[in-house]
């Protein structure tokens, strides 16, 4: 099993969400990046998380049916 029985980088995990959502302060961001540089375990999983989010976004996106656009335009107030 390649998973860890316990998480060796608990703090890193706490910072992952705000880091990827770009809401850390400059100081915290630098701290996170410094840690990532020295920790292959977290680096791998941060990359995975970023890839995963991209995947979900693409997977759940469905373009609007073109005829709906016309129906919405028809709801406008007549001039």
């Amino acid at each position: 099993m390649s998973g860890f029985a316990f998480d060796p980088c608990e703090k890193c995990e706490q910072m992952m969400q705000p880091y990827l959502d770009r809401v850390l302060t400059e100081e915290e961001r630098l701290e996170a990046e410094e840690h990532l540089e020295g920790c292959a375990y977290c680096r791998k999983r941060y990359r995975f998380e970023a890839e995963f989010r991209r995947f979900v976004r693409t997977a759940i996106s469905e373009p609007m049916p073109p005829e709906l656009k016309a129906k919405l335009a028809a709801l406008r107030t007549p001039l």
């Binding site: 099993m1 995990e13 969400q17 791998k44 995975f48 995963f52 995947f55 996106s61 373009p63 129906k71």
Partner: protein, 195 residues
């Protein structure tokens, strides 16, 4: 009657018509984004179309209550999410109380276990199916799904999402965190079942 009241002053009326036209055009430009979120708030394309039409009908009626210069996108999505609640979605009294002891790397570890062990992150993600992602999202409790959709699909900030859903920003953050974890757990289960 020779005097014109504000309601009948032709200049004022023309100005108002211009504002309204601009408002409607700007709102329509956002319709793709509104549809994308509506599609995942609902179970079918038809329901999503109805919800989007209701949203625009209400927005066009209420256009005067929009304050120019403020966030029109957030304003529209607030109508969308409110109408979605009114639509009578099932209220879940116990929004997923299952313990989530797994850490955030749970899905990654599971996928890696079932792979050849040498895959990079991109190839690990490639093992997931699109249908599983759609199902895993649909299975999220509503409260979590709303937040995940607003932030991860519609790109709203935590504070915009908080305003749209009328919840504190700390609640947005915790629901987002938990929602993403449940999503990963659901997907890990689906992908392990398939392998």
């Amino acid at each position: 009657m020779s005097e014109t009241s504000p309601e009948t002053d032709p200049r004022q009326l023309a100005g108002e018509a211009r504002d309204r036209v601009r408002f409607e055009e700007e709102a329509l430009e956002l319709s793709d984004q509104v549809y994308q979120v509506a599609r995942r708030l609902t179970g079918s394309r038809e329901e999503a179309e109805d919800l989007v039409q209701d949203t625009y009908a209400r927005a066009f009626r209420a256009w005067r209550s929009f304050e120019p210069g403020t966030n029109l996108r957030a304003w529209l999505f607030r109508i969308l999410t409110n109408l979605n609640i009114d639509r009578g979605r099932k209220i879940q009294r116990t929004p997923d109380q299952q313990p989530l002891e797994e850490n955030d790397y749970f899905l990654y570890n599971r996928l890696e276990e079932f792979g050849d062990g040498n895959a990079d992150e991109r190839r690990v993600v490639d093992r997931l199916s699109q249908n599983d992602a759609v199902t895993a999202l649909a299975d999220l409790p509503h409260d979590f799904r709303d937040v995940v959709l607003l932030v991860d699909l519609a790109d709203f900030s935590y504070s915009d999402a908080a305003q749209i859903l009328d919840i504190p920003i700390g609640t947005v953050m915790s629901r987002l965190h938990r929602g993403r974890r449940i999503l990963k757990r659901n997907l890990a289960e689906a992908s392990v079942e398939e392998s």
